[in-house]
């Protein structure tokens, strides 16, 4: 086997680590702006694809596989990972797609198809309409279930191509925007309409199937989101009883078995206030937050995917142990509408401590472009108890240094230290319903900034001492601060 990874960033780096551990030759692909990205160096070989959007270009990716002699492709998450057409095109070119079959992908990975499959198996789904290609159909469906509703991309995930709509007046705008986003992110503009359940928790079950049987490896609670993008995930969930947990595991493995699912996948559920649960969708791919489950079970999910693709058996699963938390470090300003930030990483220092894992695709000097996802890294901590994992995460984030871009570092710390997080009261709307204040800058930092800027004007002017009294950097009152 020789594996091409059709992805970039942290997930490509993470997959290359497992390939090296398994002594499987690897191939990276990269676009022009990613030519110097770390994921390219982590592979044995690499092939350039050209334009920034080329990670979505099926013929180009297949051509790269042929040119490099790769006979298997791992799609990572996002990009082509849930594209059944791509999985089919791989099969046609005699390339193993490391993921479920195109048939299982359509039956499960597609939001529309999966709701039908779940309904047939008697698993509850959120009320709504799965066929709303036109605005008229969406309007009818929305009127039936009642506002507020969600408009969602049928072929995607991660909150892209998704809009909450509170009234009929907003529908037309939201419908168009969701369609454009869905087309740009997944090359698929189909939409569906769903009732908005509130307040809700988002709990998902990690599954592994080999085409004959399927097992549930554990759940992850991913309620803390902003703009439908997850921020902090953990396992076990603080919001479900043992009884609900077993019901979710049972529903998830039945769905996977019924569709002869052969790979890793995630079954997402919405949990209502009374622990009523609704099947949401299946992510028929590796999930961003998969390390949470790896921490509890000791299973390498990428290795499991590769072994299943080679016709191997499912790994032995012992019961999960302890508690794991993942925090996503984003290049964005949480105190200003989560606006993404771009630029060069000027200084980067990750902490090293027991039971901390850092998955990242950047190094010092990397440029964060506006073309791709703003996630810079994932930090995952493990502890015997939730409190241990939480404190370790606070310690890890406090010891992280990343300069050159505005990040959500201090926001993550505020969330981890909050009463609602400490007590496990996490709902999908929690983050956005609160006002988050930019933390005050420590006094010593302002003083250090004045000094650093003075020093800089000295360096550039070639003079030092009292002569810099004319320096434009003099008055600290004139400085504007970000982050």
């Amino acid at each position: 086997m020789k594996v091409l990874v059709a992805n970039r960033g942290e997930i490509a780096c993470r997959i290359f680590h497992t390939l090296r551990e398994m002594s499987i030759p690897s191939v990276a692909v990269y676009t022009d702006v990613d030519a110097d990205s770390p994921h390219v160096w982590h592979a044995d070989e690499s092939v350039g694809l050209g334009a920034t959007s080329a990670y979505l270009d099926i013929p180009k990716v297949l051509d790269a596989a042929k040119r490099s002699g790769a006979n298997a492709i791992h799609p990572g998450y996002g990009f082509l990972s849930q594209n059944a057409e791509f999985a089919r095109a791989c099969a046609k070119s005699s390339i193993t797609f490391i993921g479920p079959s195109p048939e299982a992908m359509i039956a499960l990975g597609d939001k529309r198809g999966s709701s039908l499959t779940a309904t047939k198996l008697g698993i509850p789904v959120v009320p709504g309409a799965r066929e709303t290609d036109s605005l008229e159909e969406a309007r009818k469906a929305a009127a039936q279930v009642g506002y507020p509703i969600l408009v969602k991309a049928a072929g995607g995930g991660g909150g892209k191509g998704m809009r909450r709509v509170d009234s009929a007046d907003e529908l037309s705008d939201a419908f168009d925007a969701a369609k454009r986003e869905a087309l740009g992110a997944f090359a698929d503009e189909r939409l569906l309409v769903e009732k908005y359940v509130h307040p809700a928790r988002h709990v998902e079950v990690q599954i592994l199937g080999d085409g004959k049987t399927a097992i549930a490896l554990g759940e992850r609670e991913c309620s803390l989101q902003r703009r439908y993008q997850k921020v902090i995930e953990e396992s076990p969930s603080t919001g479900i009883s043992e009884k609900t947990r077993h019901a979710l595991f049972d529903a998830a493995s039945r769905l996977a078995t019924a569709t002869k699912y052969a790979s890793a996948g995630t079954v997402e559920f919405l949990i209502g206030p009374d622990e009523s649960y609704y099947f949401l969708e299946v992510n028929s791919r590796l999930q961003v937050e998969h390390p949470v489950t790896e921490s509890l079970t000791g299973i390498d999910l990428v290795r499991a995917q590769i072994e299943i693709a080679q016709g191997g058996k499912l790994p032995d699963v012992s019961s999960p142990r302890g508690h794991a938390i993942e925090a996503r470090l984003y290049a964005e300003d949480p105190y200003n509408g989560y606006l993404p930030s771009t630029g060069r990483v000027l200084m980067l220092d990750w902490p090293k401590m027991p039971n901390l894992r850092v998955d990242t695709g950047i190094v010092e000097g990397s440029i964060v472009h506006p073309y791709y996802d703003p996630m810079l890294a994932k930090l995952i901590t493990w502890g015997e108890t939730r409190e241990q994992a939480r404190r370790k995460m606070i310690d890890a984030l406090s010891a992280t240094t990343l300069l050159g871009l505005t990040t959500n570092q201090s926001f993550l710390l505020d969330v981890l230290k909050s009463d609602f997080f400490t007590s496990g009261k996490t709902f999908t709307t929690t983050l956005e319903s609160m006002t988050w204040m930019r933390p005050e800058i420590p006094e010593c930092v302002g003083a250090a900034a004045t000094q650093a800027l003075k020093q800089r004007s000295n360096d550039s002017g070639g003079t030092s001492g009292p002569s810099d009294r004319y320096s434009p950097w003099h008055a600290l009152g004139a400085f504007r601060m970000h982050s």
Partner: protein
């Protein structure tokens, strides 16, 4: 790019420092901030107001043209970055004096996209 150690209330602390052309970044345990010279991104007076790109991104829709009357909160421009859309709205009611961007254009952080007069 360097570390400095400072003493505050008898406590030794380490700060991270990195400079770029526009100013200096300082990192402390759990956070960081950028210190930039003022008036680089100066705001206009009350009568004129510039609507600037809050991030580097692509203009996917320009919804106004010169001489259009707009109300406070009207969407002027839709920007896309990292596959998410952002709507730039009018900070106050007024008339569009000039537009400085086109649909499809990639704009840098801080670029003036629309000039408004009250």
């Amino acid at each position: 790019m360097s570390w400095i150690t400072i003493t505050e209330n008898g406590q030794r602390r380490r700060l991270a420092i990195a400079r770029d052309q526009r100013g200096v970044w300082i990192g402390w345990p759990g956070g960081s901030a950028f210190f930039e010279k003022a008036n680089r991104l100066a705001e206009g007076g009350h009568k004129h107001r510039d609507v600037r790109a809050p991030m580097t991104g692509k203009v996917i829709k320009l919804l106004v043209k010169q001489a259009d009357l707009v109300a406070e909160g009207d969407v002027l421009v839709i920007l896309e970055a990292m596959k998410m859309e952002y709507r730039l709205t009018a900070p106050h009611a007024g008339t569009v004096e000039e537009t400085h961007c086109q649909e499809g254009e990639l704009v840098d952080l801080g670029k003036v996209l629309i000039k408004l007069i009250e």
